[in-house]
């Protein structure tokens, strides 16, 4: 159906072009077939700070899911667009996709602001929204929607896993370096709660201006002077990479302090290098080297042409897993019914247990929260690593039913009755 056999950005572009051609040809033939075509819109960041943790690799992961669904009596097309991390661009793209191009499902969507904006549009138009890479708990909380499933992770899960599990693993006293905006505050607040309730102590915190901070030396010196066992980094993307890099330069890890990135992905570790990131602690729900199924999936994604051999991290795995489950549901309920009613499709998806190579067996809760275990990893040092992408040692596993915020605490209107 869709031939993916190449790698690199230029090839990726030509593949998109070929796909557009492929999409145009059947249109001229049989219009009736249009009703039998499911259109997936991958809305992602192709040019900004989230390119590595979602971006082209998310597109490849989504296409990988299609390979399993070649002959189920319906066609599947994938459309791709770059929201440039701008909610207005994201909203207009999604509106256009739905109104004009007949897109049925929106996948991926990193960046909380864009993710929440898209949530409203999809609900208004009664389509399907499978968010994989945004972190905000609002998607299953105050702004939960019958048309949305939040697939991969959220800040509550990260805070719980890194906070509580790290205290259990011996990190008693904590110091926070936090980005001074809403996302940073909520990540810091949630993590502090878990640290305290697990019996740990918060000895201090410092907030750095957002955005645009590049020199973290004064914050790191305060963290060092606090003598806390754990220095938690409550920011994301380039900021987190910079803090961890500079923490390495100040020798925090060498002197026995643990640096915990509260939102760091395998791809970030790859760009930092183990020399820098080695010894730090982080949480993901997926790691390519967890078991045979994850290894097989990662191999397929790389073979299908992820740029530069980028291995999938949890966001990408979520795109694969969500698309797989969605297509299973469509095959089950029929294409026409699935295209007609997004909320009904989501309800069917929630009723069916999930099972795929990325997260194994799992379930979807009534408020739209997909459940699977969370893993606390320690990043290997260069000496421990056996080769490229051999990054993590598993420290703790939080079982699926404990990993995410309890439904009652979310205040989601769908389940409040």
């Amino acid at each position: 159906m869709i031939d993916i056999s190449n790698s690199g950005r230029r090839n990726f572009l030509s593949a998109t072009g070929a796909m557009a051609l492929g999409a145009a040809t059947p249109m001229t033939g049989a219009r009736a077939q249009a009703a039998q075509t499911i259109r997936i819109g991958v809305l992602t960041d192709m040019s900004g700070p989230f390119r590595d943790i979602s971006g082209p690799t998310s597109v490849v992961a989504t296409r990988t899911a299609l390979q399993d669904f070649g002959n189920r009596g319906f066609n599947v097309e994938v459309l791709v667009a770059d929201h440039q991390n701008r909610p207005d661009v994201g909203v207009s793209l999604v509106r256009q996709w739905i109104d004009r191009d007949g897109v049925d499902v929106i996948v991926d969507v990193p960046s909380s602001g864009v993710a929440l904006a898209v949530n409203n549009v999809v609900r208004e138009r009664n389509k399907v929204y499978l968010n994989s890479t945004a972190a905000t708990v609002e998607l299953t909380g105050g702004q939960c929607s019958p048309n949305t499933i939040h697939w991969t992770y959220d800040t509550w899960m990260l805070a719980r896993s890194t906070g509580a599990a790290l205290v259990r693993a011996g990190g008693q006293s904590w110091y926070f370096i936090t980005a001074d905006y809403a996302f940073g505050h909520s990540l810091e607040g949630q993590t502090m709660d878990f640290v305290r309730s697990a019996g740990g102590r918060v000895v201090g915190s410092v907030r750095h201006p957002f955005p645009g901070t590049t020199d973290y030396s004064s914050f790191l010196l305060q963290a060092q002077a606090s003598r806390a066992q754990v220095v938690a980094v409550a920011n994301a993307g380039v900021d987190a990479i910079n803090v961890i890099k500079q923490a390495g330069e100040f020798g925090l890890m060498r002197r026995g302090q643990r640096v915990a990135g509260l939102l760091v992905f395998a791809n970030d570790v790859n760009s930092m290098g183990l020399q820098v990131a080695g010894g730090s602690v982080l949480t993901e729900t997926f790691y390519w080297d967890l078991n045979d199924r994850t290894r097989a999936l990662s191999q397929r994604v790389v073979a299908n042409g992820s740029p530069g051999g980028n291995r999938p991290s949890m966001g990408h795995a979520g795109c694969y897993s969500a698309t797989t489950h969605y297509l299973k549901t469509v095959a089950d309920m029929g294409v026409v019914a699935a295209k007609a009613d997004g909320a009904a499709t989501i309800a069917r998806m929630k009723a069916m247990p999930t099972d795929d190579d990325a997260f194994g067996a799992g379930t979807i809760r009534a408020d739209g929260r997909k459940l699977h275990p969370a893993y606390l990893f320690q990043v290997k040092t260069p000496a421990e690593s056996r080769g490229a992408w051999d990054f993590y040692t598993l420290l703790q596993t939080t079982p699926a039913e404990e990993a995410f915020r309890p439904m009652a605490a979310g205040n989601c209107a769908l389940v409040r009755s």
């Binding site: 040019s47 207005d88 661009v89 207009s92 509106r95 409203n120 905006y181």
Partner: protein, 329 residues
């Protein structure tokens, strides 16, 4: 405005004569074409996209009023645009006002902010003026990052479109389009009127030679400040309209890149022309929209077009067309 050369003098005089409400004949023709396009386009093109183009066209026209007619390069217009968007969004969502009242509140917010910043900025010229506006706009940005009513980086989400005058529902794109088109056309005519008033003549005199305007007895600072406030207010209207159209108001609209984008739009279209900013906004927004599938290449393509513009046609698209046809547009 210089007297045309002897050859083709009749054409020249004819093209320069203002035949109706300050419009010259070519301008009237261009305005008519624009009206026809606005009226017909929603039947062929996607209305939400057109509304976005109109919002940015208004924003660029407001910006052009300063740079093109007073010669003041403001590098902080995102502040008025974004703050107008936030206040319009807040008043529609939290205070429950109808869309037109919310947009007016957005415009007032822009004016107030423009008055405060303008009072400081107009005391300096050239690069210093630009840097002061940029610095003040960044202060507004960091205020918006922290202020509780903006919801930080999530922005104000799910702003209701409401009902025009409380009776006509704006939920349908088509209905809202006519409201946006109306706001745009009225604002465009207002800008045109300002430029062609005695006040506008003084603005242009200041642009051409400020010391001379002072020596003629004009209180230059007052004129500059009033132009600044008008420009900021219209930017606020544009921002407010945009947040009603999309149902969100976010940090993107107050960030300095938005100030840069409006400079780009005016340059591509043609500085100091009446229709240039409209064309520039249409070109840039169309590119952002239709090139989105090329991913990382959008910004590269945008940059190449900008370089081409600066190298090949410095007067901008409309400016060059005007030069070829020997008319003022």
């Amino acid at each position: 405005m210089a007297a045309p050369a002897a050859a083709g003098a009749f054409e020249g005089i004819d093209a320069e004569r203002e035949v109706f409400w300050g419009f010259t004949r070519p301008q009237l023709l261009a305005f008519g074409l624009m009206l026809v396009f606005i009226a017909v386009a929603p039947f062929f093109l996607y209305p939400v996209f057109l509304m976005k183009v109109l919002c940015f066209a208004l924003f660029a026209c407001a910006f052009n009023l300063l740079i093109g007619y007073v010669g003041l390069l403001s590098f902080g217009h995102a502040a008025y645009f974004g703050m107008g968007g936030y206040l319009a969004g807040h008043s529609a969502k939290v205070w429950g006002f109808t869309p037109e009242v919310s947009i007016i509140i957005g415009g007032l917010a822009g004016m107030l902010l423009g008055w405060l910043i303008g009072m400081l900025a107009i005391r300096r010229q050239g690069i210093y003026f630009a840097m002061i506006t940029l610095a003040m706009a960044q202060m507004v940005y960091f205020f918006c990052v922290q202020a509780p009513f903006t919801n930080g980086e999530d922005g104000i989400q799910a702003i209701p479109r409401g009902a025009f005058l409380g009776s006509v529902s704006m939920a349908r794109d088509f209905n809202l389009y006519w409201l946006v088109a109306g706001i745009f056309v009225i604002s465009f005519l207002f800008i045109h009127r300002v430029i062609h008033s005695p006040f506008g003549q003084v603005m242009k005199a200041i642009r051409e030679n400020e010391p001379r305007a002072i020596s003629l007895g004009y209180r230059v600072d007052d004129y500059k400040l009033i132009a600044f406030v008008i420009s900021a207010g219209l930017s606020g209207v544009a921002g407010g309209t945009k947040s009603i159209v999309f149902g969100i108001a976010t940090l993107t609209d107050v960030f300095w890149t938005m100030s840069g984008e409006v400079v780009l739009m005016s340059l591509v279209g043609g500085l100091g022309t009446l229709f240039g900013p409209v064309a520039g906004a249409a070109i840039i927004i169309t590119m952002q929209n239709y090139l989105a599938e090329f991913g990382a290449w959008v910004t590269v393509i945008q940059g190449v077009i900008f370089v081409l513009c600066v190298l090949a046609f410095r007067r901008g698209v409309v400016g060059e067309i005007g030069r070829l046809l020997k008319v003022r547009l």
